[in-house]
């Protein structure tokens, strides 16, 4: 059971780190959008949404994928637990049959 619990805690730690990274990205984006009028270049403000869109799409994809992997891992751990239980029951039944015979 500690194996499963360990996995869960590790997954949440990782998700927390990835979440923090996304939040920092959004924070930086907000700061930059507030500071953008001072930037040089040809109509920089007009293209800022495109730049932010790239950031958000990229991070959303990474976050969704990490979420998928962690969820799949959790499902697999449940399956392993069920499998272990089935094996224990089968071994128990086999031992009982041996004793009876």
């Amino acid at each position: 059971m500690s194996f499963t619990r360990d996995w869960h805690s590790r997954i949440w730690t990782r998700l927390a780190v990835v979440g923090a990274a996304i939040l920092s990205t959004l924070a930086v984006s907000t700061i930059v959008s507030a500071a953008s009028p001072g930037q040089a270049g040809s109509e920089p403000e007009a293209n800022l949404p495109f730049l932010f869109a790239v950031f958000i799409i990229t991070w959303a994809a990474f976050f969704a994928y990490v979420f998928y992997v962690s969820r799949r891992q959790r499902e697999m751990q449940n399956e392993i637990e069920a499998l272990k239980q089935a094996l224990d029951e089968r071994d128990g039944q086999a031992a009982e049959q041996e004793e009876e015979s």
Binding site: F3, D6, W7, R10, R14, V17, V18, A20, A21, S24, T25, V28, V32, S36, Q39, A40, G41, S42, E43, P44, E45, A46, N47, L48, F50, L51, A53, V54, F55, I57, T58, A61, F62, Y65, V66, V69, R72, Q73, M76, E79, I80, L83, K84, A86, L87, D88, D91
Partner: protein, 235 residues
């Protein structure tokens, strides 16, 4: 219980956990540094303006998308040659990541294309061959999902991956072989040093994140394979 003990011996997902955690932390730190460089440090390109900064994300994604198909192909060849499960696990994991990165290449390219070319999409050789790469990845995963079960399905998918890898050099040389609106592969000799450094840091950052994601997925895939094997033994 012997089966479970064997599973734990072969899978041991915590064995490489330190390295994965280190990669995750390194990736997060590098990404923060990359954000600083892209937003605050690198100069704005005179002609394209701020939209040129998409370049620092689009190019690393493109690089990783290309690397992925080569890894899938090499792992598939090794699987075909040796029949070992670990090569197939690597190919599958890389293909799954390849779909994500190829999708991001196409999407970020479209977001770049709109302010620069005025259209979201055009049938440019570079774009079209990259779309073909996306279909190769999806085709590989569809064969794995819906094709024959067991070794036959794995071999079919491996052959698709090897054939699909032919697309990688075509994408790379597309701007040389055909008339293309897409910028070519060569870095201009007069490129600002800060732009070059930002690009290199960004490539390293995305490579670290890619490596972390690949290790996570490979670990999961290996466990899935072991679990499948256990089910087969129990059946």
């Amino acid at each position: 219980m012997a089966h479970v003990a064997e599973y734990r011996e072969t899978a041991t997902p915590v064995r490489r956990s330190l390295l994965r955690d280190a990669l995750l932390i390194l990736g997060a730190l590098l990404m923060a540094f990359t954000l600083y460089l892209v937003y605050f440090w690198v100069p704005t390109e005179q002609n394209l303006g701020v939209s040129q900064r998409i370049f620092y994300f689009h190019v690393p994604l493109g690089w990783i998308g290309m690397v992925s198909i080569v890894v899938v192909a090499v792992a598939s060849i090794l699987h075909l040659a040796t029949g070992r499960q670990k090569w197939d696990d690597l190919a599958y994991s890389t293909a799954e990541l390849g779909v994500i990165f190829a999708s991001l290449i196409l999407v970020t390219g479209a977001v770049w294309g709109k302010p620069v070319w005025g259209v979201w999409w055009t049938w440019d050789p570079k774009l079209t061959t990259t779309l073909a790469l996306w279909f190769v990845y999806v085709g590989y995963l569809m064969v794995r999902a819906y094709g024959p079960a067991g070794g036959q399905g794995r071999r079919f998918a491996s052959v698709i991956a090897v054939i699909g890898a032919i697309d990688a050099p075509i994408i790379y040389k597309a701007t040389d072989w055909w008339r293309s609106a897409h910028p070519d592969n060569n870095i201009p000799s007069d490129l600002d040093g800060r732009m070059l450094l930002t690009l290199l840091v960004s490539v390293v950052t995305f490579s670290v994140i890619y490596l972390y994601l690949l290790m996570e997925r490979y670990s999961l895939r290996k466990s899935e394979s072991d679990l499948d094997e256990l089910h087969q033994r129990l059946a």
